[in-house]
């Protein structure tokens, strides 16, 4: 018997249709003549690419798609067979392995050779190596936007100017050359206006995690909420409509005192534990993983992963009045580009502001960018907030690294520990 289909809300159906259209645009480049760029989620320049009519293809998202369709395991093995080490980022191996298996997109058509690799480096060193591999494979030009790391916890004017300079001197001329389209800054301004509008609605939705019961799940649900804004749709009218629709859905749940909908189609109202989660989710066992939370009454009220492509809740908006500068600020402020103290500040703030029971870290085996220093982060957030932390380990898209019994054991221990503390300490009552 096959698994029952996940129950979808209207916004999810809308997003699904948008993604399908984008895959269609990517895979039909030979028919339409449109140019395709491969680029990454953190710090992506979607509005800029749109100015050149370039279609945006994101290898990380393709790896996630493969993970959720249970295809990534085979791709990873294929990449390892060709010599990629076991510990390397499994997004990379899923992408590389997929190529040797025909490079088929979710719509059944092959991914085309990109016309350009748009590499905006925002804290993940692997990105550079990944695109080196792709450049070897596809023999296409690479445009690199180097984003300085926020080592001191904040950006400077110098850093911003440096990025703007690169945009003016390298990226924009490069994209003009690849596409044959002349850059029009007013066009960019219009897209950025759309971005800011969608960002407002997204932030409103994410902040509703403060409501009890929470009408959203800011991790498992959150990855759907951030879908359009972090990928190929930021700046589009579609994204604006999507977030308007999402906002209405969340508002409706608040009015009915409802929690988010689970994939089983039930509203998750009986929320016993409110968590902040740090680290990406596991995609190969996504539903099973999520179920471990809602079965135990745990809702995620805020997460850092939903900030991986932009910290909009901290006040940043794309700015039509300062287009290139705001692109620079956006790249600088991505979660992966933040230093450890800033990450600690943010997570401790979430624990307090969202009145969470504690911080749960999902440490990803093959992601150095996210995982390095996470134990220290946990200890420091625990110390500052006085609320308990917990640590689980899974992987992005490698099914071999997901041990359900082990993860469940740790999660249940954590939830029971919170419960036990409430009873023993007597200082806190049940959350929602």
């Amino acid at each position: 018997m096959s698994k029952p289909e996940a129950v979808k809300e209207p916004s999810m159906d809308m997003q699904k249709a948008m993604i399908a259209r984008n895959y269609e645009a990517i895979t039909s480049k030979h028919e339409t003549g449109r140019k395709v760029s491969n680029t990454f989620v953190p710090g992506n320049l979607n509005e800029l690419l749109m100015c050149f009519d370039i279609v945006n293809n994101l290898p990380e998202i393709n790896a996630i798609q493969a993970g959720m369709r249970k295809a990534s395991g085979g791709y990873i093995m294929e990449a390892e067979k060709s010599g990629h080490s076991e510990d390397v980022c499994t997004y990379v191996k899923a992408d590389i392995g997929q190529m040797s298996k025909g490079n088929i997109a979710p719509n059944g058509k092959p991914y085309p050779v990109p016309d350009v690799l748009m590499l905006s480096y925002t804290g993940c060193y692997t990105f550079m190596k990944w695109f080196e591999l792709l450049r070897e494979e596809y023999k296409c030009p690479t445009l690199m936007l180097h984003v300085p790391y926020e080592g001191d916890g904040h950006s400077t004017k110098n850093m911003r100017d440096y990025i703007v300079k690169q945009l003016k001197e390298v990226v924009i001329p490069g994209l003009e050359q690849v596409s044959g389209v002349k850059f029009d800054i007013d066009r960019l301004r219009q897209y950025l206006k759309n971005s800011a509008k969608a960002e407002d609605d997204l932030v409103w939705c994410l902040e509703q995690g403060k409501v009890k019961p929470s009408p959203i799940d800011a991790y498992f649900g959150g990855v759907y909420y951030i879908g359009p804004i972090f990928t190929a749709f930021r700046g589009t009218e579609d994204a604006v409509s999507y977030y308007e629709m999402l906002r209405k859905e969340v508002q409706g749940r608040i009015e009915n005192h409802q929690g988010p909908m689970t994939p089983e189609g039930t509203y998750f109202n009986d929320q016993k534990y409110r968590l902040i989660v740090e680290g990406p989710p596991n995609w190969t066992n996504f539903r099973e993983f999520w179920k471990m939370f809602y079965d135990e009454g745990a809702v995620v009220v805020a997460s850092s992963y939903t900030k991986v492509g932009g910290l909009y809740d901290q006040g940043f908006r794309h700015d039509p009045d300062n287009p290139l500068e705001s692109l620079a600020d956006y790249c600088l402020g991505c979660y992966t580009n933040l230093n450890l103290p800033t990450r600690v500040d943010l997570l401790a703030k979430y624990v307090e502001e969202y009145e969470a029971d504690g911080l749960l870290i999902n440490s990803i085996k093959s992601c150095n960018s996210f995982s390095a220093g996470q134990l220290m982060i946990m200890k420091e957030v625990e110390r500052r907030t006085g609320r308990p932390g917990a640590f689980i380990e899974t992987d992005l898209v490698d099914p071999r690294y997901f041990s359900a019994a082990n993860v469940k054991n740790r999660l249940e221990s954590y939830f029971q520990m919170i419960e036990q503390k409430r009873r023993g300490g007597g200082s806190k009552t049940v959350a929602a």
């Binding site: 054991n409 029971q416 520990m417 036990q420 503390k421």
Partner: protein, 430 residues
Amino acid sequence: MRCFIGIDLGSTTTKAVVMDENLQILGRGITNSRSNYDTAAAVSKQEALIDTRLTLFRRALGGVPEVAGKVDDILSDLERNFRHVQFLEQLEDLQQTCIANIKGPRFAGREKTVIEALEGTFSRLRDSSAKQYAPGVKRKSDFFRDLAGAEFMSHGEAVCKEAGLGFDLILNVYDKSIIEVENRPPSGDMEGKFVRALEKGTMTGSSILAPVQSALAIPLEETYVVGTGYGRVRLPFPKEHIRSEILCHGLGAHMMYPETRTVLDIGGQDTKGIQVDPVGIVENFQMNDRCAAGCGRYLGYIADEMNMGLHELGPLAMKSNKQVRINSTCTVFAGAELRDRLALGEKREDILAGLHRAIILRAMSILSRAGGVKDQFTFTGGVAKNEAAVRELRKLIKENYGDVTINIDPDSIYTGALGGATFAVRAVVN
């Protein structure tokens, strides 16, 4: 009386603890997990209830002036006879199962001869079993499989030789049947078995009989059962009766040593570092991920590789005076590294000493991830019984954390079950 039971379904052994409502331990029971958690849970629970009866007998006899100073002997006599009755009952089941399993072309035309050989073997087994349960005899194992198996081999071979029958024929039937018998839930009627044991014993004087029978008449009411351990999800309990093993180990260690702040549990499949507060509430924990490197099973592999018993590893390692450095605690690579060292001419005891150190080094890293070692520190789990592991642990704790009190209880294997039983009491009494 109201009984509160904790069952810890570990990957290797399943343990149960029975408590009364005053948090007093009444009984403990252990069995092998035998890849069948349902049976393991039932057996360990029954064993703990048997032990509970013995506790009740002890309490009853404590008030009888005539037996003062002799209670231990009386109870050991009673337990021996009880175990014998229990053994004979399972033996009967095994015989019937063996006979029922004689079918198929292999036995065609020879059924009668095979049945006769089996009956002869079991008859001798019954006779010789009295020796196993004679006063002063130390039994080699607590598990029926081990006790019946060894005797079956010797008697079966002799009977078959006399009958001119190949031994492998009945051995094949035995192998199939022992699994069935072992995986069958234990039969009830514990009280009846105790009555039969009393009748078998020599001490049937009324001064003993009456208090024992009155203790036997006390109904053991299973008020609340809490399950823990990796097999907990297999238990047919409602969700609120299931507790994570981390919490159970934390609370169990607190019950044993109320001043405990850090707990290390090295079990068959996992290692846990746990911090508890002054009332036994878990503050923080870390455990190994899906890789069971350096856990109890690793020692099992090493023992197999060296063709030794698991309990022999520690004592041999203690003989070492030159430790060999071992790099991997991976169970998969254990054999390779072991053979590598042997090939280099290292001595077995020195290699073993190195292996024990490697295990404890890994445990130290998990402890450190959980926030270090605080006074008092309690070491639990099967590996806590291994003296070489304990020696290394003491050394490394001192080097890294100074003079902290290290507690190791002889009953530490029951820590998780004890925590479970305590949760059971709290669920009802508080």
